[in-house]
Amino acid sequence: MNERVPVLSVKDLSVEFRTRSGVVKALENVSFHVNRGEMIGIVGESGSGKSVSALTAMGILDEAGRVTQGSINLGGLDVLNASERYLQEMRGRDVSMIFQSPRTALNPIRTVGKQIGDVLRRHGSATRQTVRAQAIKSLMSVRIPDPERRHDAYPFELSGGMCQRIMIAMALSCQPELLIADEPTTGLDVTTQAAIMDLIKELAKERNMATVLITHDLGMAADYCDRIVVMHAGHVIEQAPTEELFLKPRHPYTAKLMKATPHGEGSLDDIESIAGGLPDLRSEHLPPCRFSARCERHEDMCDMPALIADEVSPGHMVTCRRPL
């Protein structure tokens, strides 16, 4: 397949949720794509819409959610207009997702080895005779100690980080074309984290898999991603090749986000938390730039409608009237 054809392409996506107290405009005009063999990172603070973007791309939006505009193309499939049967087939065959809360995504009454085995069998990559051995191999690859015996453990018998690694093993067993990993290694210690990310990276390379890594850990995004998409309050506010983003962030929010990362030495007071919070996404009159209330560079021109992404250099898009 052509390298440059995106495996996933999201265009102008807007998503709303109905709640008891009003409509939450969770995503607005979100666009991003990921190419074959590429790893992109989606970063941004809590509640900025990272998980909702991923779930919508997989066609698993909460019942109260509604796509009000936009399109999602997943390996040629028009996700928003595809039948549920089609989508189900695609999930687990072409796309896998590692969910943010791993233990709840596992079946509590089936051993983890069997759950991995189910995936392997469904994909025809194991037969009845080889399935146990392959599942054990898969447990070993995510560094579960004593995999022969742990094969028969139930999720409740494993630690949080182990369940997370089981999810990762399952997702990778599918040999997907696209892997969406929502905070895959949070809660894992640094050494295990590195081992898991190396594994994902290696498999991605081997199989030319496209990967979307959702994380709030900028350091990890920097280490592993080719390109980074920054989200804020349901908008994509900047995207650029990794190195360029770190060297020359253009959106004031991106710059703040980088400053807020703790760096080993120093005290709590040295960490600049970003003043203000996300705006109330239920409001009827959200400003065109949802960062404006927190932004030091804000001027009247920022409040003019129709704020669109600007390509400041090849592949570097910024949605800001007064970029740095």
Binding site: E45, S51, A64, G264, D280
Partner: protein, 342 residues
């Protein structure tokens, strides 16, 4: 000063399901015929002889690899699960003897609060954020007045940077980090003497994380709250904790003042952990990459160091004898054949 929490030789062993001795005499008999081995039950040593103290107003960090027993340990301390042996004394009382099933009726229930590792799993799907935070205030603090309750809930929500508009939402309507904040608010609301936090910040972005850490420091200063802070994020531990204990496969391998642990780690595992911190200047910037697989917590060899096999310093004797506890300084020790007193 007497300690708030004293943990002595605490153990939690799990008998592995389906593999243990059967209640059925027939099965026992069949098994005894089929294998020559004695009827041995595999036992998983999740927590294996852990001792430490937490003083009032002190924050203790607990670090260690995934699966080393941190959640199992804190589960016993919060009296959600029963120990296999050892003792847990809280404010002088042996709460380890109170079965976890009836602990909720003890007065200490209010004084020990825990923030669980998985924010989603620990929230009741039918409770709004408001209900979740209000529940312990009603049950443990006896606050029934609607107005007072609302005020209290809104005040803690603000403290943890949880926007008021999210109080009417159910868990499935919240993002990962928002759920984490609801959990922290619930635990902080009743102002416990000991707050146990199991990976509280891993779902939080740096900005919210800073808010939470500052809140914890403030509560410690204002109310003298003590913490047991479980985290894989060593930068955060360094910022928040006075002392640190490092666990490896169910046991404490090093314990000492935070600054010393970070600048002069004495155990090879701690050294590896610290050198792996991104942009850490310690340990001469030599990244120690651990090779080899961790040992199994199932039936560990009592006459060997559990880190042997991955340890960059390991030698023959590490495989033949359990390492001694060596005092590095008066309040800093490491459990290793090669640890030395300063």
């Amino acid at each position: 000063m007497s300690a708030l929490l004293e943990v002595d030789d605490l153990k939690k062993h799990y008998v592995l399901a389906g593999q243990g001795p059967s209640d059925n005499p027939l099965i026992r008999w069949v098994r005894s015929r089929m294998t020559s081995a004695e009827d041995h039950t595999p036992i998983l040593h999740a927590v294996d002889g852990v001792s430490f103290e937490i003083n009032p107003g002190e924050s203790l960090g607990l670090v260690g690899e995934s699966g080393c027993g941190k959640s199992t340990l804190v589960g016993m301390l919060a009296r959600l699960s029963d120990k296999s042996s050892g003792s847990i004394r809280f404010a002088g009382k042996d709460i380890g003897e109170v079965p976890s099933k009836v602990f909720h009726a003890e007065p200490e229930r209010t004084d020990i609060q825990i923030v669980f590792q998985d924010p989603h799993e620990s929230l009741n799907p039918r409770f709004t954020s408001f209900d979740t935070i209000a529940e312990p205030l009603k049950r443990l603090k006896g606050i029934t007045d609607k107005k007072e309750l609302t005020e209290r809930v809104e005040a803690v929500a603000a403290q943890v940077d949880l926007p008021k508009m999210l109080l009417s939402r159910f868990p499935h309507q919240l993002s990962g980090g928002q759920k984490a904040r609801v959990n922290i608010a619930r635990a902080v609301a009743v102002e416990p003497k000991l707050l146990i936090l199991d990976e509280p910040t891993s779902a939080l972005d740096v900005s919210v994380q800073a808010v939470i850490l500052k809140l914890l420091v403030q509560l410690k200063n204002d109310l003298g709250m003590s913490y047991l802070f479980v985290s894989h994020d060593l930068n955060v531990v360094r910022l928040l904790c006075d002392r640190v204990i490092v666990m490896y496969l169910g046991q404490i391998v090093e314990s000492g003042p935070a600054e010393e642990i970070f600048t002069k780690p004495a155990h090879p595992y701690t050294k590896a952990l610290i050198s792996a911190i991104p942009n850490s200047a310690v340990v001469g910037n030599q990244r120690v990459r651990l090779t080899g697989d961790p040992k199994s917590p199932i039936d560990p060899d009592p006459n060997a160091c559990r880190f042997h096999g991955r340890c960059p310093m390991g030698e023959d004797k590490c495989a033949r004898a359990a390492p001694p506890k060596v005092d590095v300084t008066s309040d800093h020790y490491a459990v290793c054949h090669f640890a030395q007193s300063a």
